[in-house]
């Protein structure tokens, strides 16, 4: 004989006469809907009232600058590689010698995110070693043409703005380069 298993047999009670007429249930349902009829409206009137965006929301991916206004992206292309729908295209480039953040790594010449392909998965943000790409709170995106929905570098920085972090990587790089010319 098998040992008793931890299965609870639920006794299915046959429906009572009142239940079989459907009427008490229908009446109860009517009362519930009537409560909602006089109750508070739960929907937002969208364009005027905007939903509250919770932290960690994954909106349109954007590029951010550091508090000194320098771009953080070094065009390592990790996001381009990790992007599942291949929405990101980066053309890496050298930084000109007279640029304020010169003698530090590279920067993207072109950075395009095709929002028609983007699936808002957030892998680009997760993979970015420089914390340069963030999915922020822009959720309403529209355009008249396909070309309009490909965000280029200017658009991405405009959407992204400045991230008030305290890494100041370029300052440190510059200081390190200035004080240790041996390694140059």
């Amino acid at each position: 004989m098998l040992p008793p298993m931890s299965v609870i047999q639920v006794q299915r009670k046959p429906l009572t006469f009142a239940e079989r007429t459907y009427l008490p249930q229908v009446f109860g349902g009517l009362m519930i809907t009537l409560r909602h009829f006089f109750g508070r409206r739960v929907t937002l009137e969208y364009p005027e009232q905007r939903p509250e965006i919770s932290p960690g929301y994954r909106g349109v991916p954007t590029l951010v600058k550091d508090p000194n206004g320098r771009e953080k992206c070094v065009s390592c292309q990790l996001c381009e590689f990790v992007c599942p729908p291949k929405a990101i295209r980066i053309v890496p480039g050298e930084i000109p010698a007279d640029a304020p953040n010169a003698h530090v790594e590279k920067a993207p010449q072109e950075f395009e995110i095709n929002m028609l392909r983007c699936i808002y998965c957030g892998l680009c943000e997760e993979v970015c070693p420089e914390q340069a790409i963030f999915l922020q709170n822009v959720y309403s995106l529209c355009g008249y043409s396909r070309a309009e929905l490909v965000n280029n570098k200017e658009k991405l920085y405009e959407l992204g703005g400045t991230m008030p972090d305290q890494h100041f990587k370029w300052d440190k790089k510059k200081a390190a380069a200035d004080h240790a010319p041996v390694h140059q």
Binding site: V26, G29, I32, T33, L34, F37, R41, V42, T43, E45
Partner: protein, 390 residues
């Protein structure tokens, strides 16, 4: 006023008919708007509240209020349906496809002819009903004509020549035939009661209201209290006959796309809807007349007494049109208020309960409602025979 009375009867009938259509058609149209709004409120939403005609913006409060109520959405909806491209699929039987919406709407509006919607009191103290044709067949005409509406669904489903409309119309024919039996049986006790010995036979709805306006406790009782089972069966059957949830087997948006009107679009589609709401309006009207005392404001308060309180009584000498018209408008308002509440009740139920399964619909119709209606007739026939027999 004399000029009005000199109009030939045919023209007069036409004018009255047009006037009634001009009231019923907007009600049927406005119901579609009310349905959207009521459904929104029942679900805790706002519903349509954006459309506004530019000039109305300048009216303080009222314009905005109407906008929030979504009144102008009705115009937008109507305009859209009227001017939209009317597709005619290539695979349909064109003739029947085209006439099906007309067949839907003609019976729906024809039934109004024998439904009284108000009354005034003449010099002799007699209640004169306001209706297009006070004929003795009364309710029988309503049932006969209203049941023609099913042909539009069968024709629409069959002429569409595609599977979902076909299934929808098969369900329609089965359901409507099943529930018509209970519908008709449920009102028999009412007419057994109002056709008391010595009064002459009549199926007129006017007499039903007259019986609910009698003095005394039992005279003034509305028939919903005297015959609750009849009222209940009639109401359920009415839900089924007007294809409202929980009996909308015919449209079944979820499983049949839209049932018989799947292939229809724009104005032809909207005609089906106006017809459905017109059926609802007339059905609610008949229900109010049969069980809710018609134009009597409250139970045990006949409209004659009510007018007496308001001082709206014809003096013995001169017949006053002003008093008669005020009485007529008041009685129509009372009647319409009840009808509109019934329509709200239809919507309320629709947005509360889910649809029955097809086999449940058939089981309720044949194995629950029909025996109940039959037993009801038998019991009331015996009771009425005992009460009214010598």
């Amino acid at each position: 006023m004399n000029l009005f009375l000199q109009i030939p009867p045919v023209v007069l009938g036409l004018l009255k008919g047009l006037a009634v259509i001009c009231v019923i058609f907007p009600i049927a149209g406005a119901c579609s708007m009310a349905e959207r709004k009521v459904s929104a409120w029942l679900q805790g939403r706002f519903g349509p509240n954006r459309v506004i005609v530019p000039w109305f913006e300048w009216i303080p409060f009222l314009g905005r209020g109407l906008q929030r109520l979504g009144v102008f959405n009705l115009l937008a909806d109507g305009g859209k349906l009227l001017f939209k491209e009317d597709p005619l699929p290539g695979h349909v039987n064109k003739f029947y496809f085209m006439i099906a919406p007309a067949i839907a709407i003609i019976p729906a509006f024809t039934t109004v002819v024998v439904v009284p919607f108000g009354a005034y009191i003449d010099q002799a103290g007699q209640v004169v009903p306001l209706m297009l044709a006070n004929v003795d067949v009364g309710l029988l005409a309503v049932f006969a004509i209203a049941s023609l509406g099913i042909y539009s669904m069968i024709l629409a489903g069959w002429a569409s020549n595609s599977k979902y409309p076909f299934l929808g119309s098969v369900r329609a024919s089965a359901q409507l035939v099943s529930y018509e039996l209970s519908l008709t049986l449920s009102v028999l006790p009412v007419f057994l009661w109002v056709n008391a010995p010595g009064t002459g036979a009549s199926l007129s709805l006017v007499r039903v209201v007259a019986f609910q306006s009698l003095p005394g406790f039992w005279g003034g009782t509305w028939f919903i209290f005297l015959m609750p089972v009849s009222a209940f069966v009639f109401l359920i059957a009415l839900f089924a006959e007007t294809n409202r949830l929980p009996f909308d087997m015919i449209e079944s948006e979820a499983d049949l796309v839209g049932g018989f009107h799947t292939e229809y679009g724009s104005f032809k589609w909207s005609l089906f809807f106006v017809a459905e709401y017109a059926h609802m309006t007339v059905g609610s009207g008949v229900f109010v007349l049969l069980f809710f005392g018609g134009w009597n404001p409250l139970p045990w308060l006949p409209i004659g007494t009510f007018f007496g309180w308001l001082g709206l009584v014809q003096s013995a000498g001169q017949f006053s049109y002003a008093i008669a018209i005020t009485q007529g408008v008041l009685s129509i308002a009372i009647f319409l208020a009840k009808v509109l509440f019934m329509i709200f009740f239809f919507m309320w139920v629709r947005w509360t309960v889910p649809r029955f399964r097809y086999d449940q619909v058939m089981r309720i119709g044949w194995r629950r409602l029909l025996p109940l209606a039959l037993a009801n007739v038998v019991v009331y026939a015996i009771v009425i025979a005992l009460l009214q027999g010598d």
